[in-house]
Amino acid sequence: MLEVLRAGPMLTVQDRGRFGWRHAGVSAAGPMDGPAFAMANALVGNTAEAAALEFAHLGGIFRAHAPCRIAVTGGTAEVVIEGEPRPAWEAHRVMAGQTIRIGAMADAVWGYLAVSGGIETPILMGSRAAHLRSGLGRVVEAGARLPLGAFDPRGPALACRRPHAETLAPRDIRVVLGPQQDAFSAEVLERFASARFTVTTRRDRMAMILDGPQIPAQRGHDIVSDGTVAGSIQIPGSGCPIVLMAEAQTTGGYPKIATVIGADLPRLAQMPSGAAFRFRPVPRDTAEDIWIAQHSAERRARLRLSVTIARRWRA
């Protein structure tokens, strides 16, 4: 069992997500940064289906009530186990009764704490992922006691090379235009693809609102409501783009000028408020190629984790 002594902002239990319910009005939820979440699970030897904790900016303080391995990913978080500083992006052994403090991340917004065995809160509609707007799960608060699953205590503590080093450099956010690109003039589409947009503080697990130039639609900003996905870029009457995220509504009545590609959505989610970037349209075929390549690169990275020095200490 993992006890929460102090909870950072927006601390929730997440697994990969709740799939197959969009037709019923329930979006998948799941992690804001899927690759970082998957890596946290891999580092402690969990399966991809295991649940872990997600937090915004700052993790909190936790106490392990049984021996386990933990890993923190997302950004360069300050991790302190029973007074000893430990690096993020690698697994560490924790003894029963020891405390884990996860401080602020300087270079990311969403962080992950995975525990060997995974967090075994009740499964609702096939998933443990908190979906706050739907009343599925809740924000984890101080005093919570989170049940953990069984794991192999002889398993190694693993480490990875920081996978995000390359993505820290400023780079465009790639999009596929549509489904409602026809609602915008050629000139406005050109503006959308060349102007700088800024991440604002109006952001949560549902959506991120961006600042930038006006993006007016040609025939008003109301369409007959249709389906949305994580990454949909809605343009409401205010002209400020709204990028839908993990916990967004499943349908919407604003025209969607473009969709952030799957490979770049976690990077957008991790951008600090105030960061500026450009959207760069790519053909759908290219976006699928990028996703397939990144998907297999991430899988290879998770399979090639190295055993940390902690294992030698144990011997």
Binding site: A24, V229, G262, R284
Partner: protein
């Protein structure tokens, strides 16, 4: 309805089959029939599909099926589509008109220059169609509201409307599925919970279903509400 379907990308893991730009029961029936045909086709790599008023959104895993290939499959399904055979379930939804959830009943009746009884008779005297589920878990957009009951939404939404509140916004009717803010006007409440994550089924209504509202008294409402709180669906569908 005769216009050619338009295929629109929604990123690298979803696409949209758009059959029209308008709200129309026949178009909506085709969208739902396509969703059903897609389920039956058992195409590997489909992760979700969302039928809406006039289009079908399909999520897919591009490591299993590419968008271009999926579009070909969807166009072929559309060519062979049989809309007639789609079953239409009918739900009879009990409503306590007025009552704690029906805070707009008296005002709306006055605005529309009719008695509350006349308004209730118009509301429950017609069959509704579930055009789509969206916005919130299990929230059904219902078409078929009597034109005399068409009602503009409030300029400033109310902060907290309970689950089960029965209301209307614009030309549409609905039943609140989760508690939350709403700019719709409400005339009653149902003890039925359209969404209960701990219940199987968690969600009652589906796009294409038919709805009839049936007035009940306070005693019946209280009895059914207790059943709903215990995790019972309370009502079941009749299949035509």
């Amino acid at each position: 309805m005769t216009s050619a379907p338009i295929l629109l990308p929604a990123g690298d893991q979803a696409l949209v089959v758009q059959l029209s730009e308008d709200i129309d029961a026949a178009v909506n029936a085709r969208v739902i029939a396509l969703a059903d045909a897609l389920d039956r086709a058992g195409i590997a790599g489909i992760t979700d599909r969302v039928p809406t008023y006039r289009s079908l959104l399909v999520r897919y895993d591009p490591t299993v099926i590419r968008g271009r290939r999926l579009e070909e499959r969807l166009l072929r399904l559309l060519e062979e589509l049989d809309v007639e055979n789609a079953p239409a379930r009918l739900w009879r939804v009990p409503v306590l008109y007025g009552g704690p959830a029906g805070l707009d009943l008296e005002d709306l009746a006055r605005e529309k220059k009719m008695s509350p009884e006349e308004l209730v008779a118009l509301h429950c005297g017609t069959e509704y169609r579930v055009f789509m589920i969206g916005f919130a878990p299990g929230f059904a957009y219902l078409g078929g509201l009597n034109p005399r009951l068409h009602t503009p939404r409030l300029a400033i939404p109310r902060q907290m409307i309970p689950a089960g509140a029965v209301g209307m916004g614009g030309q549409q009717a609905s039943i609140n599925s989760v508690a939350g803010p709403s700019g719709w006007r409400f005339i009653g409440g149902t003890p039925v919970r359209l969404f209960d994550p701990a219940r199987d089924p968690a969600i009652l209504l589906a796009a294409g279903d038919r709805i009839m509202f049936e007035p009940v008294d306070r005693g019946t409402f209280t009895r059914l509400a207790a059943l709903a709180a215990a995790g019972r669906p309370v009502i079941g569908p009749e299949v035509a």
